[in-house]
């Protein structure tokens, strides 16, 4: 992960600030930075989203392709995640430097989405045991400004909300051979239901308190962080501890409660912006990358 070097006095200033609920940029311990969300930025994908959270910039592209279902789940489709830490984000990611972080994030996403209720995989089935939709979710890190996991999960949810999968019909011949027909109308598509898609909330322990949405400087002061994934109803789907420090069980409970509370507000804010974008439809002025 990209990191900054800080002097001991600077770290002390940050830690004392967090104790008094006033962070360096004036936020409280449970406040997020201002986020910008835009969907449908990449034209040749089934769905895409770009999220800018302070200095963190994430681009997610979703492509739906036809594949064979997994042997143990013959009547379901599945999701595949791939995370690319581009060298744009920080010089540490040059060459193969970003691979370790990329696989860690991808594995976390697999865990977060491993719960059966996150995405309705049965709707992705076309023909049991033969054809199903495979959703490839590709995440691209453009800039690293702290709090990667939260921004990535917001972008993934927005991209899945934006995904349009074309409707297919199965035609059966008399001989029994099946043909797959794509509908002619490009707007005839199925949308994924993202009501139960979880979002990740990272809680970093600084001193005796924990903060949400840590910047790079705050991440340098925190020894341990807790990643929890929360659905819009407040249900936890997974939990992961990162960092080399240790966490007290009581603080873990407190952090979980904070995470659930913050996660619900996060979902409400995100859904509001996605609905607003949907309502504007084609009248919205696309900003993309050259705005």
């Amino acid at each position: 992960m990209a990191s900054v070097v800080l002097s001991e006095a600077e770290k002390l200033y940050i830690v004392h600030g967090v104790q008094e609920d006033l962070r360096v940029d004036g936020r409280g311990c449970e406040d997020y930075r201002c986020a910008e969300v835009e969907t449908d930025v990449v034209s040749n994908t089934s769905g895409s989203a770009r999220v800018k959270l302070g200095h963190t910039d994430i681009l997610v592209g979703v492509k739906a392709e036809m594949g064979t279902p997994k042997l143990e789940k013959p009547d379901e489709g599945y999701l595949e995640f791939f995370v690319d830490c581009s060298a744009n984000a920080t010089p540490e990611f040059e060459g193969r430097g970003g691979e370790e972080l990329g696989t860690e994030i991808a594995n976390t996403l697999y865990r977060v989405f491993s719960s059966e209720s996150s995405v309705d995989l049965k709707s992705l089935c076309i023909n049991p045991r033969e054809h199903c939709w495979v959703i490839y979710v590709d995440v691209l890190l453009l800039e690293c400004g702290g709090n990667l996991f939260d921004a990535i999960s917001i972008a993934v949810k927005a991209a899945l909300f934006n995904t349009r999968i074309p409707k297919v019909h199965i035609l059966e011949d008399e001989e029994g051979s099946k043909e797959i027909e794509l509908s002619d109308d490009p707007y005839d598509c199925i949308r994924l239901n993202v009501d139960n898609v979880p979002c990740i909330v990272t809680l970093s322990k600084i001193g005796y308190r924990h903060v949400v949405d840590a910047t790079l400087q705050e991440e340098a002061c925190s020894l341990a962080s807790l990643l929890i994934s929360v659905t819009s109803k407040g249900a936890l789907t997974s939990m992961k501890k990162i960092g080399k420090g240790s966490l007290d069980p009581e603080s873990i409970f407190e952090m979980m409660e904070t995470g659930q509370r913050v996660g619900k507000s996060l979902h409400i804010a995100l859904q509001k912006i996605l609905d607003e974008e949907e309502r504007l439809g084609t009248s919205r002025q696309k900003v993309g990358f050259l705005g």
């Binding site: 070097v5 800080l6 002097s7 001991e8 006095a9 600077e10 002390l12 200033y13 004392h16 600030g17 104790q19 008094e20 006033l22 962070r23 360096v24 940029d25 004036g26 936020r27 409280g28 449970e30 406040d31 997020y32 930075r33 201002c34 986020a35 910008e36 969300v37 835009e38 800018k52 949400v212 509370r261 913050v262 507000s265 996060l266 804010a269 995100l270 509001k272 912006i273 607003e276 974008e277 919205r284 002025q285 900003v287 705005g291």
Partner: protein
């Protein structure tokens, strides 16, 4: 209560041309022809092709008699003797420290250029060399003055005055070096209750005024007591104001920072970084600065 605000991105607004001060500036982009007159000598940021003088960087054209050069607007810090800089120690080497100052090469702080405890005129011994890390470690912030510039552009610093030295508790803001206005003094004690060091290299250090350097030896032992909440609020507000001014590309000097601080008082500290609030505050600051001049 958690405060989470999400928004749709808005396209950048083109800022209208503000009143030109001191004549029009000739702005060029890389590849623009500056002049086709062959009588000029080419300086930094230009090259000759087909008997035309072409700019290689984006910036303003400066002409001194027959010398034409282009001064880039967004560039790394180019050291000049007498500048005040704020830097971060990156390496501890034999008899010197390497300091990061947002320039093309790391700056150098020689052991003979710092004040050691016990008086200035002590000869640097081998024990001093071994104890270098006790004075300045990797990651420490210092304020220093540029002593000289080497031929390759690397800058040599010195802290041979009581006002320079290791910095204690505070907040560092990094902006582009071209936004820091050259002034008589770069150490300001703002009336709002905090002090600020405007480094020429774009590193701006905001710290509580009560951290007086009344210890000897240029303050090598920083004050580690917690800063009171009222001063923290001032420092956070100043930090957000400076970030707002830098985002809107306004020159940074004590008056502009102070006006921006006063304009931001009606808003909450964390709201200053919202795009619409930022624009409003900077517009008011710009207006007050124009009134001051006019």
């Amino acid at each position: 209560m958690a405060a989470i605000s999400m928004r749709l991105p808005v396209p950048r607004k083109l800022v209208g041309p503000s009143a030109p001060r001191g004549g029009e500036k000739h702005l060029v982009a890389p590849g623009d022809t500056i002049t086709t007159d062959t009588g000029y000598m080419r300086g930094h940021g230009t090259y000759v092709e087909d008997e035309k003088l072409i700019a290689s960087v984006a910036g303003a054209v400066e002409r001194v008699n027959k010398l034409v050069c282009v001064r880039a607007l967004k560039t790394r810090y180019n050291g000049e003797v007498g500048d005040i800089v704020v830097g971060r120690i990156t390496e501890v080497q034999q008899k010197r420290w390497k300091v990061e100052t947002n320039s093309r090469l790391d700056s150098v702080l020689l052991l003979s250029s710092v004040n050691l405890p016990g008086g200035e005129l002590r000869r640097r011994s081998a024990e001093d060399e071994l104890a270098m890390r006790d004075y300045l470690q990797e990651g420490d912030l210092i304020s220093a003055e540029v002593q000289s510039v080497f031929s390759d552009g690397a800058v040599s610093l010195h802290t041979r005055s009581l006002k320079y030295g290791k910095l204690g508790q505070g907040v560092l803001v990094q902006v582009s070096p071209s936004l820091v206005k050259r002034q008589k003094t770069h150490f300001h004690d703002l009336p709002c209750g905090a002090s600020v060091i405007l480094g020429n290299n774009g590193f701006i250090w905001i710290y509580p005024t009560s951290e007086q350097k009344d210890e000897e030896a240029g303050g090598f032992t920083p004050n580690l007591e917690p800063v009171p909440l009222s001063e923290r609020e001032v420092i956070s507000r100043l930090r957000n104001c400076i970030v707002a001014l830098a985002t809107q590309k306004l020159m940074l000097f004590d008056t502009s920072i102070l006006y921006c601080y006063e304009a931001s008082l009606p808003h909450q500290i964390k709201d200053i970084l919202k795009p619409e609030v930022m624009e409003e505050i900077v517009l008011e600051t710009r207006q007050r600065l124009l009134d001051l001049e006019g």
